[in-house]
Point group: C2
Chain length 146, copies 2
DNA sequence: TATTGTTATACTCTATAACTATA
DNA sequence: TATAGTTATAGAGTATAACAATA
């Protein structure tokens, strides 16, 4: 017996979630063995591209709450992917930096992410893929922070 | 200090998640007072459109695990939005049906969902919105079930 | 007084194992 | 033996409150 899901599948929120879950699953398959989850990847990527970034800035950029970032940074630090250094101007803050190992894993993870993206959007033409990427980004918009 | 998130924001998975979170948040604001969460909405919608659908079919269609569906159905049942009836042919199974109250809330929730969708995609033209919807659906594809 | 970062904790969502009743 | 549905429970992800150190 076939289930009628037409109206549900016509909703963009529902489809956006399914696309996200598809990406999540495939990324996990390929990067899970390296112990890097999507959320940790996003943190590592921002640290790599923003040497000295603080926890507060990471939280605002990624819409993560400070208490939930602590464990992620701690994990990345324990694996030698991120270093914590005293902030030059603010004694309360800690600047995060990616040592060579962190930068290397970032590059590899980005390659995996792009490959996952290509796999998930395999049913699209190159032009459609570019359009989808552009429109999604336009809707997601700039992060207003908190 | 401006955070460089260019590469992160160029990833479709990341943007798909942000679009989903935007929809999630707005839907919660408007339907939360009615006690209907997005996951429960999807269950109610499928029951409304598929009278007699079983838990197993719901789980396969929505990619939900059976134990996690139990509470949702129970909640919907307690609110009089869903009814459980013995399956005509299979004594193990239970057919789910939406009484008038369930059908009414389904219609209202669909209206809210479409309004949320319009709000979230407010930065898009009508043509872009249609394109995004089509491409997202194409990527999300038919649910292969489990 | 406000902010950075942390701990402890709770709540939700999701996942696994084991059980029953029926097929 | 396999399947539908359930219970109990464990693991993630996400949320709030309260605190120490610094601004």
């Amino acid at each position: 017996m076939k289930v009628n899901a037409r109206e549900l599948e016509s909703l963009m929120g529902y489809n956006a979630r399914r696309v996200w879950l598809a990406v999540l699953g495939r990324f996990g398959e390929r990067m899970g063995v390296r112990g890097l989850k999507p959320a940790e990847f996003s943190v590592l990527l921002l640290v790599s591209h923003n040497p000295g970034i603080t926890s507060r800035q990471l939280c605002a950029s990624l819409d993560i709450l400070p208490p939930n970032l602590v464990r992620m940074v701690h994990m990345l630090q324990e694996r030698g992917l991120v270093e914590r250094r005293a902030h030059p101007r603010d004694g309360r803050a800690v600047g995060l930096h990616a040592p060579p190992a962190g930068l290397a894993l970032t590059r590899e993870a980005v390659r995996v992410a792009r490959q996952v993206e290509a796999d998930v959007t395999g049913s699209l033409t190159q032009a459609e893929r570019a359009t989808l990427s552009r429109l999604l980004r336009k809707v997601a918009g700039p992060n207003p922070g908190r």
